[in-house]
């Protein structure tokens, strides 16, 4: 077994399932892009909601599942991104589309001082600190009288109606500006979701992703093999702030009305998101996708139960955590060995006895 033959070593990450899935994913993306052609406005609005939650969930998963940064204050960036967009549009006269991008950048900038503060805290204190920061940002923005103070404000109708992109869509699909608005925001959410998943996947497959996994497993050992754990976590934190802020701005372009309580809602932007990631499967890209679908179904089923809704949601979350600690996707992947976004580097070739060679499942 130890005689080295001339066979070369090879490292592979792809699996059969993932290659097949890549084709399916391309088809799904095409179908989703064309959705405004065959789906009604209300379905598009629902899809917008799902896609934006998916983006928030992927960002939180990156933060907590990969970098071990369990934040319960990501609503800080949703709200800050949303307010930055409002300020840029109302006070700066920017096009809402440009404002969304700038709001993402503004959120990343906000994350620099908060990282400085938060990274001094460990474990539970990190979580509490992140929540405190979100509250501080909310209270500060509630003082901003030009944006409606504590009661909030609306986007002026001209600002959204006169967007050049809307006119184009309106003509193309023969719909009024409100319908065109739904199509545009849906497409943006779809684009953002695809980009987020694509970037996260790329990161995980890169050398930096490997380092991140090492830090997650054992920070002390990671530092001892040359991984800059702190830098890695800071970059993830900033990237998640950017993605979350961008998504927050997009959500509020669609809502067109903002208030501090709604934009910084810990339930809407963090509790639901954590629920989605945890029931779907933390630390996997597939997890949040499964989670958001389950969440959406539950929300519709439980819509009639009023305040029982949160309670039942919580109970379901607890049951899943107890019986499938790695989430629904984790449970499925464990049973089947299927990975749609594989990141494992498998060593093959060389003189190794290849594990499942010739087996019925290949």
């Amino acid at each position: 077994m130890t005689d080295l033959t001339l066979t070369r070593w090879k490292v592979e990450t792809r699996t059969k399932a993932s290659s097949a899935f890549a084709i399916v994913a391309a088809l799904i993306i095409l179908l989703a892009l064309a959705a405004p052609l065959y789906l009604s406005r209300s379905v598009l609005q629902d899809l917008f909601f799902i896609l934006t939650l998916l983006v928030l969930a992927q960002n939180w998963n990156l933060l907590a599942g990969y970098a071990g940064l369990v934040s319960v204050g990501q609503q800080a960036f949703v709200g800050f991104g949303a307010y930055a967009m409002f300020a840029l549009v109302i006070l700066g006269g920017f096009d809402p589309l440009a404002a969304i991008l700038l709001a993402g950048i503004a959120s990343a900038l906000l994350a620099i001082p908060t990282a400085f503060f938060l990274f001094r805290l460990q474990g539970a204190y990190f979580a509490i600190g992140s929540w405190v920061i979100a509250e501080v940002v909310r209270l500060a923005l509630a003082q901003w009288k030009m944006l409606g103070g504590g009661t909030g404000t609306s986007l002026p109708r001209e600002a959204t109606r006169d967007m050049p992109a809307l006119k184009l869509i309106g003509e193309l699909f023969g719909v009024k500006s409100s319908g065109a608005g739904d199509i545009l925001t849906y497409w943006l959410a779809l684009l953002l979701a695809i980009a987020t998943i694509g970037l996260v996947y790329r990161l995980l497959r890169s050398k930096q992703g490997l380092g991140l996994a090492a830090v997650r497993d054992n920070q002390e050992a990671a530092r001892s093999v040359g991984v800059d754990a702190r830098r890695m976590k800071t970059l993830v934190y900033l990237a998640a702030a950017f993605g979350t802020g961008l998504c927050g701005a997009l959500i509020y372009v669609q809502k067109a009305r903002i208030s501090p309580d709604a934009a910084f809602s810990v339930i809407d932007w963090t509790a639901y998101v954590i629920f989605i990631v945890v029931i779907g499967g933390i630390g996997t890209i597939e997890g949040p996708i499964v989670g958001v679908i389950v969440f959406y179904i539950l929300q519709n089923l439980l819509a009639d139960y009023g305040s029982w809704y949160l309670l039942i949601l919580g109970l379901i979350g607890i049951v899943i955590m107890l019986f499938a600690p790695r989430g629904l996707w984790g449970l499925f992947a464990e049973r089947t060995g299927i990975q749609l976004f594989p990141v494992r580097r498998r060593l093959i070739g060389g003189p190794v006895p290849v594990a499942k060679k010739g087996g019925p499942h290949g």
Partner: protein, 239 residues
């Protein structure tokens, strides 16, 4: 120029002195063994050299460069590779990926550049059969080998080994000694903490004896083992 030079390095944990003005030098390509009773401060000495614990006083010079204030990551990049006494694998990563991280980051290369070398190290350390298994599923012996393998993957110029032979059978111990001797013959500077004296003495050129954080003997294995003080301390822990 010595590859490593400690001068008057001290460390206290509260009232407990675990390193008491420790000074010694390691020549380039030398293998040094460290022995001493449990709690003597051997592992702490490693942690001081690697930066996992900051020294209270004294200086540590590695390869002509003062590294006393550098964090562990920088010292690894400078060429200090270490194993942990209590293995610290990246549990969810595979054995191969454990080495890949160490190679890619510790040796500052791309994954593609270090892949082959990592595979070779797995062959040398007898872990190749487990290459694609999560490290969390390894037995204690395999975890100890992984510590050695991962340290090697960082392409160190000084290798610090902390009790990697404990609990091995005679045969396994012999194989481990062969592996380390081969690495040493290729020019690696090594410091090896070990209670299994015959294994240690068949590799190292010099022994350092630590007791209550103080160096109480240093020299060739024969000379050190002949010293009365060392015999007393060792007899003390042997019973």
């Amino acid at each position: 120029m010595p590859i490593l030079a400690l001068s008057n390095v001290s460390k206290r944990f509260g009232a407990l002195t675990v390193a008491d003005a420790v000074s010694f030098e390691l020549r380039q390509g030398e293998a040094l063994g460290i022995i001493g009773p449990n709690g003597a401060g051997k592992s702490t000495l490693f942690n001081l050299i690697t930066g996992n614990i900051a020294a209270d006083a004294g200086t540590i010079v590695f390869d002509g460069r003062d590294v006393t204030k550098l964090p562990p990551m920088q010292r690894c990049l400078a060429g200090v590779g270490r194993s942990f006494q209590i293995p610290q694998p990246f549990e969810k990563l595979t054995v191969f990926e454990n080495l890949l991280v160490a190679g890619a980051f510790g040796a500052k290369k791309t994954e593609a550049e270090v892949g082959d070398r990592c595979a070779e190290i797995l062959v040398e350390t007898g872990l190749i059969g487990r290459a694609n298994h999560p490290a969390g599923g390894l037995s204690l012996l395999q975890r100890k080998r992984l510590e050695l393998a991962r340290a090697l993957a960082t392409e160190p110029r000084l290798l610090l080994l902390d009790e990697i032979a404990g609990g091995l059978t005679e045969d396994e111990c012999g194989m481990l000694v062969d592996t380390i001797r081969t690495i040493h013959r290729a020019g690696m500077s090594i410091i090896w903490i070990e209670h299994v004296l015959h294994a240690l003495n068949s590799v190292v050129e010099r022994l350092l004896v630590l007791n209550f954080g103080k160096i109480i003997g240093m020299g060739t294995p024969d000379a050190v083992m002949a010293s009365r003080e060392v015999r007393e301390i060792y007899l003390g822990i042997e019973v």
